[in-house]
Symmetry: C2
Subunit: 660 residues, 2 copies
Amino acid sequence: MEDTAAVETSVTVSAFDVSRRPDTARLVLSSPKPPGVREEIIGVVRKAFHPTTASGAAGAAGRPPSRWGWALTALQSVFPVLQWGRSYSFKSFRSDVMAGLTLASLGIPQSIGYANLAKLDPQYGLYTSVVPPLIYAVMGTSREIAIGPVAVVSLLLSSMVSKIVDPAADPATYRALVFTVTFLAGVFQVSFGLFRLGFLVDFLSHAAIVGFMAGAAIVIGMQQLKGLLGLSHFTNNTDIVSVIKAVCSALRDPWHPGNFFIGCSFLIFILSTRFIGRRYKKLFWLSAIAPLLSVVLSTAAVYATRVDKHGVKIIQEVHAGLNPSSAKQLRLNGPYTVECAKTAIICAVIALAEAIAVGRSFSSIRGYKLDGNKEMIAMGFSNVAGSLSSCYVATGSFSRTAVNFSAGARSTVSNIVMAVTVFIALELFMKSLYYTPIAVLASIILSALPGLIDIKEALSIWKVDKMDFLTCLGAFLGVLFGSVEIGLAVALAISFAKIIIQSIRPQVEVLGRLQGTSIFCSIRQYPVACRMPSVLTIRIDTSFLCFINSTFIKERIVEWVREEVETSEEKARERVQSVVLDMSNVVNIDTSGISALGEIHKELASLDIQMAIASPGWQAIQKMKMAGVVDRIGGDWIFLTVGEAVEACVTLHKGTVLEC
Amino acid sequence: MEDTAAVETSVTVSAFDVSRRPDTARLVLSSPKPPGVREEIIGVVRKAFHPTTASGAAGAAGRPPSRWGWALTALQSVFPVLQWGRSYSFKSFRSDVMAGLTLASLGIPQSIGYANLAKLDPQYGLYTSVVPPLIYAVMGTSREIAIGPVAVVSLLLSSMVSKIVDPAADPATYRALVFTVTFLAGVFQVSFGLFRLGFLVDFLSHAAIVGFMAGAAIVIGMQQLKGLLGLSHFTNNTDIVSVIKAVCSALRDPWHPGNFFIGCSFLIFILSTRFIGRRYKKLFWLSAIAPLLSVVLSTAAVYATRVDKHGVKIIQEVHAGLNPSSAKQLRLNGPYTVECAKTAIICAVIALAEAIAVGRSFSSIRGYKLDGNKEMIAMGFSNVAGSLSSCYVATGSFSRTAVNFSAGARSTVSNIVMAVTVFIALELFMKSLYYTPIAVLASIILSALPGLIDIKEALSIWKVDKMDFLTCLGAFLGVLFGSVEIGLAVALAISFAKIIIQSIRPQVEVLGRLQGTSIFCSIRQYPVACRMPSVLTIRIDTSFLCFINSTFIKERIVEWVREEVETSEEKARERVQSVVLDMSNVVNIDTSGISALGEIHKELASLDIQMAIASPGWQAIQKMKMAGVVDRIGGDWIFLTVGEAVEACVTLHKGTVLEC
C-alpha cells in the first residue's frame, strides 16, 4: 500500500507542470556568480589603500588635481591641520585659547596624579601633556579630544611593568621599560591604522568597556589609599583582596591622620565644585580649576605650617625644564622585549578604545565623522614621539575632553595651547611643587573616578541584554579580583562565546501565512499566522549554515517532520506532503551545511515528502549549485519566495489527491 | 533654503497619515515576548533530560505503562538490545554469524597491527577486540558498526603517551598510563552523552576530519617504515621531518632486505585481493580474509625457512588466554594524571568523531536514526569496561564496519560473534603467532590506509568552499609537520575563525523591486531588480547584529547614503528621501547593535532622511523596544514587510513633493 503511494507521488512529481513555475523562480538559479574569496580579498585591500571612494573624503574630488595638487591632497590627508587651518578664524582661536587654558588648569594636577599612579616622578606626567598633544594637534581628526595621560592606562602600565621590574628597587630600568612599552604601543597603533585593523578596537564591546572601566576605577581608587593614608609600603598587585590585606597590615603600624585629613577635605572641595558646576552651567570653570586650586592651596598650607615634619608626605624635588630625550633608554632588544611587547599591545588597544569612544561620542554631538584609521595613526605617532621625549602612553581623556568641549574648543588648537601652558609651568613653577602633599594628588585622582563608573548604563544593559551584562560583569569582576589583563581576557572570551553560541543553536521557526496576504512569518512571533495543513514551512534562522549548526538544524527539521507525520497518520488528507525550507536568512553555507541539506532531502524523500527551497542567499545558492545538491533536490523546487514555493507544493498535492 | 526644506519635511512627517499604515505593520510591535535566557536554559535542560518527546522514541508511547512498564522502558532505553532482541530472528542470526566470522578474520590481524602501532604487545590489540564490542553490542544503537582498535586512535595514544613515559624504557608504566587514558576517555564519553554534549563532536567539521584523516594516514604509513625495513631504533616523534631523518640515519647502518621483501609482497597481495573484491562484488570476502591469510602464509614461510635467524624480525612470545584485569594499574592520582586527562579528552573526541561519522553514514544507508548521545554513552561504557580488562581505546572502525556491512550484518550480534572468535583465538592460537614477521603487520596496516585518504572529497571541498578547504589543509599539514594535536588545534582554530570572520564582515545589500511584483531582492544577486529613486532599501545580512559588526554596518550604511545624497544633489527630485532597513535576517541584536541603529537614525535625521525598519527578528524587536530605540525611530516607521515600508515612504514623499 505504502509502496504504491510512493510510486504515484514520484510519478506526479515528474508530471508536475514545470511551465506553471513563476518566472521569478528561474532567477534564483540564473543569478550571476558572487565574488569569490580572491575578489573579496582584493576588494578589501583596495578599499584599505584607496580609502577615498566616490565620497571624495579628501575634499579635492571633482576638480582635476594640479601639478602640486596631489602632493597637497596627500599632505592634507596625513595632516588634517592643513585642511581646516586655512579656514581657521580669529574667533575660533580666541575660543581655543580659553579652552586650552581651562584644560591646562585641570590637566596639570591630573598629570601629576596619574604619573604618581604610573609609579613615575611627577614631571613625567607633565611631559606626557606636552609632546603627544602637539603631535596629535597636526595629525588628528577629532576637534574636541584632549590628549594626555589617563587613569586607566597609567594603572595598566604600572601594574604590568611592575611585574617585570620593581619600580622601587630599580626606578631607572622601570622608566626605560615604560618608554619602551610606549614606543611599541605607538608602533602597534600606527600599524593598526595603516593596515586598517580599526575593527580590532570593536572587539571590546561597549558592555565590556563599561564593566572594565568601573572595575578599573575601583582598583585605581583602592590604589589611592596609599597616598590618602600616607603609607610607605604597599602591594604591587592591583586586585582588591591584596590591596585590602596591604592596607590592613599597614594600618597596624602608626600612621599619620594629617594625610587623610588633607586628602578628604580637598576631595570634598573638588566634588562640591563639580556639583555646583553641574547645577549652574555657567560656573563649570569652577570645577575645571578646582584641582589646580587644591594643589595651590594645599601646597601653601603645608609650606606655611610645615606639617611635612609631622608625617604629611610631600612630593619633594621635581625636575624643572623641558622633556629630556629618552631615545637612548629604549630597550628594543633585551631580555624584557617580549614582555614589553605584550604590555604594549594591551595598552595600545585600551588607549585606542578609550580615545575612539571619547572621540566618537563628541564628534556625534557636533555631527562630523571621525576617521578611525587616521585617529589610530595620529595617536600612534603621538606615542612614538612621546616615547622619545620621556613621555608615557597618552590617549584621549574622558574628563578633560568634556571640559575642553564645555569650554568651547573649536579645534585641536586648544591642545596646543594646553601643551604650551604645561611647558611654561614645567619651566617656571616646578620648584613650588616641593611642598605639595601627596594626599591632594590622591584626592584629585579620586575625584575623577566617579565619571568612570556608569551604573545607569550597566542597569540598562541588564534590562536589554543579559548576555551583554554578563560580559560587563565578567570584565568588572575580572579586573577587581584578578588583574586588568584577566578582566580583558574574560570580557573577550564571553563576547566571542556569545557569537559562537548564537551560531551553535540557531532558531528554526515554523512559518504560517497571514490570512488574506502572501506574507509568511514565524507562528511563534506572530500567533495570528496560520499554518497550512499539508505544507510545513520552516525558516532557518542563521546567516551561516555551517559545521557547528548543520547537524542541529537537520535533526530539528527531521524530528518535526516525523512528529507531524506521526500525529497526522489517521487524517490522510492533512498529512504533511511537502516541506518548504525558507533559506532567506542563510547568506552563506559550508560543505557540512550542504551535506546536511542533502541529508534532509534524503530523509524527507524516504518519508515521501517533497522538499522545496525558497530564496537562498547568494553565496549559499552558488555553493549548493556547485556541490550538486541543487540537482539532487531538483532545480524546479527552488523558488524566489516562500509564497511561490508553497503555491507549487499545493498545486502538486491537488494533482496527487485527484489521481488517488 | 536648506533649513526651510528641513522644517517642511519634518512637518510632513508629523502630518503623515498614520491611519493609512497597513494592519500587518501593527503586528510587529504587538508580538508576544520571546522566551528569555532563563526560559531557554530551562528548555534546553528539560529537553536534555526528557529526550522522549512526542515522537515516542522509546517505542512504548501511546499505551499507558504497566506496573513494570516504566522499568522496562528505562532498561530498553539503556540497553537497546532488549528492544530489538525480542524480534530477532534465526535468519538474522545466521547472517550475523557469517558477518562476525568475516569481521574476525579481518579484525585479528588488524588488532595485532594496531597494537604494534600503539606500542603495546600484540595481545592488547586482541583484548581490545573482545570486551568493548561485547559491551557495545548490548548498549549501542548502530547495527553495522564494528568496534575495536583503530589506526588513528592507536597513533594518537602512542604519540601522546610516549611523551609522558618512554614505552621502550618503562613498558609497564606506559601500559598503565594507556589504561588510565582509556578509562578517562570512557568517562569523558559517558559524560558527553549524559550531559547532551554531543554537539562537541560537530566542532570537528567534515572538512577538518578529511584533512586530519589523510594526514594521520600518511603519518601512520611513515611509522610502518620501522616494521617494513626491520629497524630497531626509531623516533618517537610522528612528524614527517623527524621520521625521514630517522629512516635516513637508520639506513646508514646495515639493514635486512628480507623484512622489506616480505612486507611488500604481502602488501601487493592484500591490495590486489581488494582490487578483485571491488571488481567482482561476490568475491569481497577474499579481501576480508586476505590479511589473515597473509599472517598464516608468512608465519608458515618463516617457520619453514627460519629466516628470522637472518634478520627478519618476528613477533616472538605472545601471551595466550583471556584479558587479565587491569583495574589495579589505573593511575588516577599520580604525577601524570593531568597529562593523561588531556590525552584522554583528545582521544575521546577523535574516537567519537570517527565512530559517529562511521555510524551515521551506514545508518543513513539503511534509513534509521542514530541517537548520538546514546552512542556516546555506549562507547564510553565500552572503554571504561575495556580499561579495566587490559584494553585500550576502542571505537568504530571505517574499514571493518564496511566489511561487516558488506558481509550482511543485521545487528550488533555480529560484534558478539567476532568477540567470541577473537577470544577463542586468544585461548588457542597465540603460540602460533611466534614466527609471524613484523613486516606483515606493517603491510596489513599500510593496506588499510588508502581508505583514510579521500582525495576526491578534498577536491570537491576545494571546488565548493575555499575556507573549508583551508580547514582541511590546515589539519592535514598540522598533523604531517607538527603532531596530531597541532593538526587538531589548527583545524579548530580555522573553523572558529571562519565563523567569527563571517560575523565581522557581514554583507550589506541594496535591494531593488522586481518589476510587476512586490518582491524586493538584492540588486547584486538579481540584477533585474530595479532600485527606487527616492527610497534606498538596505538589507543587513547577519543574524546577530552585535559589537563585532555594528560599527562596520553603521559606517557602510551611512557612507552609502552620503554618496547617494552627494551624487544626486543636482536632481532634487531623485534625491534619497528615505532609507528602509530590511532587518528580516537580524534574529538577535546586542546593546552595541542597538546603539548602532540609534546612531544610523541620528545620522539620517541630520541628512533629512526618514528611516524605516522592516520585519526585525523576534529577539531583535523585543530588545529594540526595551532599549527605547523604537520610540526614537518612531513605532509608526516599523513595518512587517519591505514592500509596506517602501510604500509608506513613497506616500510620505508624494506629500512632501506636493507641498513643495
